[in-house]
Symmetry: C2
Subunit: 148 residues, 2 copies
DNA sequence: ATTAGTCAGTTCCAAAAAAGAACTTTCTAT
DNA sequence: ATAGAAAGTTCTTTTTTGGAACTGACTAAT
């Protein structure tokens, strides 16, 4: 199976992975959420090869997750910014972060905490149902495939 | 940079990706959550090559996400099951699913819905703070690196 | 007016990983 | 004896990476 074949799968997990299911893509997006916008900065921070970075940025742009915007002319230079579609990936980053903080301890003690921008309090992200507020776990939820 | 180097990164996103940041790994885990436990079944459902599947299962086992359990002897046969660490990945799958359902439409209309196991109602998964119940978005949350 | 530096890539080659298909081993069932 | 299943392994070919150098269009410093 190839990358683009995943796009037409009925399973949303597969479709999602067709966009972000790559070793580097999520790290690029993490940097975008941290405010990194330029090629050079990303390349240096990530230690990714320039070739692969250029490729991933192209792919993310064509998938509508990032948009390329000129921030100067002469010489023409572009930066990459998250689109709304890209920003909507935030919960995926957060849940992944929360999982890794709990289950994949770093060698050196060091960690990340999510804080409320308003109150500065530490946030503990959990998944709930928008309507009832009930917590969602693999125990009390089940996926159904809709046949149209 | 290599796979295992990611494990020692301070950033939890990188550490998380060292375990699940692979084209196939999340699809394998999706199947695990759907109850698929055997090599042959996975191989057929995913269309993954046997070689890569064997490799990914080995890796997931050594990372403590799956465990290999004998379900018969003569001939000895094993199946793969999610550990608690693996089950804790559920929110990542769910947020990815929700994102893809909204932003990566399938070519043929077809989709998945998450239902409550208790009430059968459709669930709309959102990210909230366990303490306050406030919704978490990239707008009202900020990551802080803890220096120990 | 050279020289150095920045940025966003591209080009080239070697090394690693994945695809695809056949083969193996240890059984059970016909 | 023959066929089939399960869980891999082995082999070869194709793709993807990694690593490093190079390009083009400027700008700033000497």
């Amino acid at each position: 199976m190839k990358w683009d074949d995943l796009k037409s799968e009925p399973c949303p997990v597969a479709r999602g992975l067709s966009v972000i299911g790559d070793r580097w893509t999520m790290l690029v997006l993490r940097d975008c959420f941290l405010g990194v916008r330029r090629f050079e900065q990303m390349q240096e921070r990530l230690g990714i090869t320039r070739h692969v970075l250029a490729d991933r940025l192209r792919k993310l742009e064509s998938d509508g997750v990032l948009r390329r915007e000129a921030y100067q002319e002469r010489p023409l230079r572009h930066e990459y910014r998250l689109t709304d579609k890209g920003k909507a990936l935030y919960p995926v980053l957060v849940t992944l972060t929360a999982w890794a903080e709990e289950h994949v301890p770093p060698e050196k003690k060091s960690s990340m905490t999510l804080l409320s921008r308003d109150t500065g309090e530490v946030l503990e992200p959990i998944l709930t149902d928008a309507k009832t507020g009930q917590r969602i776990t693999h125990r009390n939820a089940v996926a159904r495939r809709n046949i149209d």
